[in-house]
């Protein structure tokens, strides 16, 4: 979109009824690396492509646990994402303190949406430049919610956001019907294959995929996490967030063709 006379302020409408600043905030989300979320009958899974800057070896975390039953992955400005994540963590903590129960995911996300909305209606604030996929599990089952800088909150069966995420969305659309019957490992495979479609030509080397699996609490005792094997393959194991069977049930051969050496330019967004 091109610059015009209606895009200086969040609080200025265009004659077509658009808020350009808010739409520009959406562009920031499209700059971030792709992330995918999908859910089955018992699990909600998030997968995110991590960009590693050439100069540093540390990973830019894209998946952030919020509470025992909720986590989110982000695309866009990481600074804004940190602030939003901090807010959600505080809300969940306060809810647990008051009510000795987990914050219902739907209400948490509605609360977040309201907070984001205030930034689109004040002259002295700007929208948060981060899109989020929130995965959670509560008494109503697994959830995937997409939250955007426009303060739109969408309940999704599956979703992908970030750069080149259209191919991920296409993959998810094609396979959506089978998610209900998938077990955890199959869901994880689907997530990885979906996010694979968003690899760019410059993502060819040293790729890392973060995984987050949210699952039923009443599972059998967790399997032993096979972290060593995974770190040999260059997979990050510190993002295997779970409190049930370990998500390291990912078959190795699926990952091995993902990892190569990194080279992406220094992007602000991740």
């Amino acid at each position: 979109m091109f610059r015009n006379q209606y895009d200086n302020d969040t609080t200025t409408w265009s004659p077509q009824g658009r808020l350009f600043q808010v739409e520009y905030a959406m562009e920031a989300v499209k700059q971030g690396a792709a992330t995918v979320g999908l859910k089955g009958a018992d699990y909600a899974v998030l997968a995110a492509l991590c960009r590693t800057s050439k100069d540093t070896n540390t990973l830019q975390r894209k998946i952030m646990p919020v509470d025992e039953h909720v986590g989110m992955s982000i695309a866009g400005l990481t600074a804004d994402a940190r602030v939003v994540c901090q807010y959600m963590r505080t809300e969940c903590m306060a809810y647990r303190h008051s009510y000795d129960a987990e914050f219902p995911v739907r209400r948490l996300v509605a609360n977040l949406g309201n907070k984001l909305q205030t930034t689109t209606q004040r002259y002295d604030r700007r929208p948060y430049g981060v899109g989020m996929l929130v995965a959670g599990y509560d008494e109503q089952g697994p959830h995937i919610y997409q939250v955007m800088p426009t303060a739109n909150v969408l309940n999704c069966k599956a979703m992908a956001i970030g750069s080149r995420s259209q191919s991920a969305r296409t993959y998810l659309e094609r396979n959506m019907e089978s998610f209900e019957d998938c077990d955890m490992d199959e869901l994880i495979c689907h997530a990885i294959q979906a996010v694979r479609g968003s690899l760019g030509s410059d993502d060819a080397d040293n790729l890392t995929i973060n995984m987050y699996v949210e699952m039923v609490k009443s599972m059998d005792p967790p399997l032993e996490a096979d972290h060593d094997a995974l770190s040999e393959e260059g997979m990050s194991d510190d993002d295997m967030m779970d409190h049930g069977p370990s998500s390291s049930g990912v078959p190795p051969n699926d990952i091995s063709d993902m990892e190569t050496t990194a080279s992406t330019g220094g992007h602000d967004a991740h």
Partner: protein, 268 residues
Amino acid sequence: MLNNYNSLAQPMWQNGPAPGAFYNFTGGQTPVQQLPRELTTVGPYGTKHSTASSTTGTSVLGIRYDSGVMLAADTLVSYGSMARYQNIERVFKINKNILLGGSGDFADIQSIKRNIDQKMIEDQCCDDNIEMKPKSLASWMTRVLYNRRSRMNPLYIDVVVGGVDNEGTPYLANVDLRGRSYEDYVVATGFARHLAIPLVREKKPKDRDFTAVEASELIRTCMEVLYYRDTRNISQYTVGVCSVNGCGVEGPFQVNENWTFAETIKGY
């Protein structure tokens, strides 16, 4: 309260009238000081607003059985030693999972109940079929009551919270004015704590929960004993029952008085 979810938004206007509040007509120069009660300066001769209870409810008894809970309380609200309001329900159905039995200062009970009702309305406004669980309400009440107690401005109440959670597991707890709460198969406030709890504990089978019939029989016996011995109650009472089959307050029932034992007691 209804705007809980947008507490980060700035108020729409400043220094102006709020709905239901007195408007300060000093032209915004000096806002009226609204100190909390515990910080207000004393009146003439050191007088202060009293925190003593005026109208009080007596015992509430709660018993947990295999598929639910029962809460019983008589229908009297006393004014000191006078039996002033004789037909007051003190067991409340909060939502389809929760019963609340209130004793202590009845104005405080009504105040917190209004607050709780507001919360239930907010739950309904969320329109997602999630209702508050009894454990959550009990937890919330401990936070509120402890906070008030720590500010030296307590809500002078002792309540029993009972109900069933989503899986049908019964829950029964007692929360008092200091913010202390505990769960058990029998909880009570007031005189019932001394008279009824030992009675129920004695009858508890070691290896299983009470059945509904046993619980109901125990309630009847305990309310009878309380009527004989507690001098601040009457013989009419209501019983709230919350189980997987439903939640409601039944009654009013009358105690089956039998004073023939009185002549065997010498000196009282």
